[in-house]
């Protein structure tokens, strides 16, 4: 028996895509508060506006994040969601789970929360939606003692790091993204749980320039796998693609008849640097001209692989529009090793230099990408002790407004106007 009529939401039960409304209704048979979610969302569908209040600070002892306070602005009508806080759990690297741990999480959340979740939140956390303040310590206790799980980040801290699936099931990953993500998450537990930054700080780990976790667009500190030697070629497999023995692009285009595979048109002509050509049956690459965009490797996965001298590029400062506009991350380190043997030392050295400066000089709610814009890339590079190189820019500046420093100019800035006037009358 429905507790609330939901004629608008009911219309989202039809159609082929999985329906969150049907799912909520099913859960509502066991968890009464799910009826109140449906009731309140139905009211929003009618009113065309949210019915959640602004924030509210709740959490567990000793942590400054991981729980987001959430209260209904119509609590008397929907008492089951009057207090309805979000708990962020730090997901395991690249989101593999055993059913055993998932069932444990489900059982805990059915007892202590609404039974509704997000698999996953945008940053990567496993999100538990809807519980009351008195449950928070209990949930934290069960997570840490029984599930071996911990809270994720929220507020002005290191947000929960995330990574692509890397070497677990991808042939292109140029470093161990999962090991890096886990190691770095564990190293910076304090920064993750206790907000001390001007604003949020995200770091993401992608194994190759295809960037499946969107590190370049979504993280303040993006680590994207890369290599610096030659693309590995299996000429027999190249021939196989040319002869039509293998599906190009891993079969990604098999739903439409695009005609016979044409290596000239589909690979060589689409190379952004024009560094490839055929010599008879053999595919040749001038690797010194290659910018490692991945297109040829994507199209010919059996024939081409990233080189063997592998590592990563580090790009800094991506963010969504609030406030100064969206930013894509800027290349800072073209290539470094991401080595589990030395605990990802190069990454951590650079990260900590950035934090040290940003924590002191970043303004309230200023992402590091905005701080970089404010002081200029040249100053930022000097602060983090990175030598400027042409790879840092798309093109040199087109205006001549250089901020020369006193010590850079012969004789310095100090001059005597009287001496000047002796030679140059007004």
């Amino acid at each position: 028996m429905p507790k609330h009529d939901t004629p608008l939401l009911d219309q989202l039960e039809s159609g082929p895509w999985p329906s969150f409304v049907s799912d909520l209704k099913r859960m509502a048979q066991k968890k009464d508060e799910c009826w109140d979610i449906l009731g309140q969302v139905e009211l929003s569908y009618k009113d065309k506006i949210t019915h959640w209040k602004h924030g509210g600070i709740v959490g567990v002892f000793g942590y400054g994040g991981g729980v987001i306070g959430r209260y209904s602005d119509v609590p008397t009508r929907f008492p089951g969601v009057a207090h309805f806080h979000t708990v962020r759990l730090n997901q395991p690297s690249s989101k593999f789970y055993s059913t055993a741990i998932l069932r444990q999480i489900c059982d805990m959340w059915e007892r202590r929360g609404s039974g509704m979740t997000n698999f996953h939140g945008s940053t990567g956390d496993l999100v538990l939606l809807g519980t009351t303040t008195d449950q928070l310590e209990e949930i934290f206790w069960e997570c840490t003692h029984d599930l071996g799980m911990d809270l994720g980040g929220s507020g002005g801290n290191l947000r929960t790091p995330s990574c692509c699936l890397g070497k677990a099931r991808c042939e292109w990953s140029c470093y161990d993204t999962q090991a890096a993500c886990h190691n770095i998450t564990m190293t910076y537990q304090d920064e993750l749980h206790r907000p001390a930054f001007p604003y949020k700080f995200k770091t993401k780990f992608s194994g190759c320039p295809n960037d499946c976790v969107a590190a370049i667009a979504r993280s303040d500190f993006a680590v994207i796998g890369n290599w610096r030697d030659d693309i590995r070629i299996d000429q027999a497999a190249v021939k196989g693609y040319v002869n039509g023995d293998h599906a190009a692009n891993g079969g990604a285009h098999s739903g439409r008849d695009w005609g016979k595979f044409d290596i000239q048109k589909e690979v060589i002509d689409l190379c952004p640097t024009g560094c490839m050509w055929m010599e008879g049956d053999a595919l040749k690459i001038d690797n010194a001209e290659c910018t490692r965009c991945m297109h040829c490797i994507n199209v010919l996965p059996r024939a081409l692989r990233p080189g063997k001298d592998q590592g990563a590029s580090i790009l800094i400062g991506a963010k969504a529009p609030i406030l100064d506009g969206a930013q894509i991350a800027t290349l800072v380190i073209p290539f470094c090793k991401m080595d589990p043997e030395n605990e990802f030392e190069e990454y951590k050295d650079l990260l900590e230099k950035c934090w040290d400066w940003w924590m002191e000089h970043g303004k309230n709610r200023e992402r590091i990408g905005e701080s970089m814009q404010r002081i200029g890339l040249n100053n930022f590079l000097s602060i983090i002790e990175v030598e400027p190189i042409p790879q840092h820019v798309k093109e040199p500046r087109s205006n001549p407004y250089v901020f020369w420093k006193d010590e850079e100019v012969e004789g310095g800035f100090e001059r005597d106007v009287k001496e000047f006037r002796k030679r140059h009358a007004m």
């Binding site: 969150f20 209040k53 989101k95 059913t99 489900c106 042939e171 891993g250 529009p321």
Partner: protein, 375 residues
């Protein structure tokens, strides 16, 4: 045993971080870690990865609503227990992946997924995969639109593109329910973005008790929020703020900092459509999505205007683009003037940037194409 409220620090465990990922690997993943040679999509939603050891991992990918109950998760677990040795994974785009170690295990798995009815197989290759999205009216205090409902409506309509691979390239659709963009839609092929269009209200009754007024003032990127005296409903004069309306760009950052400045509104709020962004470095550099439709109304439960707009852009692209071309690469090749013409989207001054770095987007060449826009 368990948590003792009288003694909260007793036996407390903190800062243990996430569980180690390796314990959750299916055997075929664990044994072939770092040994994969190549992959192929054998049919929509089914991938095979081949290892240098000769081992194969077949992955079946299904769409998921992201907002799911623990019973739904248990349904996934049941499938994984029956077919996949009790392991599964989730993708960054909210899909679920079931992995098996031989080809003959694929069809029985597909059959069980089909029986469930809420586990559509697809989301691979040159198609539309799951829409990454935010909370919307289900759980957020700042949204300008819903998230899960819009996604459901759009995916119902684009469903055939989820279960097939007929497009020129992969098309990434994303939804963020306000400009904070928890869903980071700013580099998506097609972005559905909740927008406000009315300046904030100022609740003088509570502003001095719930807000730090200097922070509210500093929150405005355009200096539109200024200190001012306000009068409460009881006639009391209090320290408050005023908003220079003509400077407001409706970003909502003031409300994020100050609960006494709400700007959500049933008529004011709605959806903007941005297109042509990409993340991957393949061929062309990553790019931002560009605003092509400044506003569509909120029309729950199925947002027909938004659904039609997304489908139209997708289908014009599908017909016109070259193989491998992403939406943004296509629009740049044909020229944005042609994009508007071919998609039959009216061009308005609202698509001309007037924020920071706007000049970078103005056309500074005599090279253009003649379209119906030139009278």
């Amino acid at each position: 045993m368990g948590y003792d409220p009288e003694n909260p620090m007793k036996d407390r465990i903190t800062d243990i971080g996430p569980p180690h990922y390796e314990q959750f690997f299916p055997p075929v993943i664990k044994e072939n870690y770092g040994k994969w040679l190549y992959h192929e999509i054998v049919q929509p939603g089914v991938l095979v990865h081949v290892s240098e050891t000769g081992a194969e991992c077949y992955t079946v990918r299904i769409g998921c609503a992201r907002l799911i109950s623990v019973d739904m998760v248990r349904d996934y677990c049941e499938i994984a227990d029956k077919h996949c040795d009790g392991y599964l994974r989730f993708t960054t785009r909210n899909n679920v992946e079931f992995m098996v170690d031989s080809k003959d295990k694929v069809q029985p798995l597909l059959d069980d997924l089909a029986k469930n009815g809420q586990m559509p197989v697809g989301g691979t290759g040159a198609g539309v995969t799951n829409i990454v999205h935010t909370q919307g009216w289900v759980h957020c205090h700042t949204p300008a639109t819903d998230a899960s409902g819009v996604v459901k409506a759009v995916m119902d309509e684009l469903f055939d593109y989820f279960t097939s691979m007929t497009l020129p390239a992969q098309v990434r659709v994303a939804l963020a329910c306000c400009l904070n963009m928890c869903g980071a839609v700013h580099c998506s092929d097609i972005a559905i973005l909740g927008v406000h269009r009315k300046p904030p209200l100022i609740d003088h009754d509570v502003i001095s008790s719930v807000c730090e007024i200097p922070l509210a003032i500093a929150s405005c990127p355009l200096g539109a929020v200024k200190p001012a005296k306000g009068t409460t409903t009881t006639g009391e004069e209090v320290k408050s703020v005023t908003v220079t309306v003509e400077r407001c760009m409706f970003c909502g950052n003031c409300y994020t900092m100050c609960p006494a400045m709400p700007l959500a509104d049933p008529e004011g709020d709605g959806i903007a459509i941005l297109v042509g962004g990409k993340i991957s470095n393949a061929r062309s550099a990553p790019k931002f999505s560009k605003l092509v439709i400044p506003f569509l109304p909120n029309t729950p439960p199925r947002w027909p205007e938004t659904v039609a707009a997304v489908k139209n852009i997708l289908e014009v692209y599908a017909k016109d683009a070259n193989k491998y071309e992403r939406v943004g690469e296509w629009a740049e090749r044909i020229g944005w003037e042609k994009f508007f013409e071919k998609c039959n989207i009216p061009f308005t001054e609202k698509s001309i940037d007037d924020y920071r770095l706007a000049y970078d987007t103005w056309r500074t060449t005599t090279q253009f194409k003649y379209t119906s826009h030139i009278k």
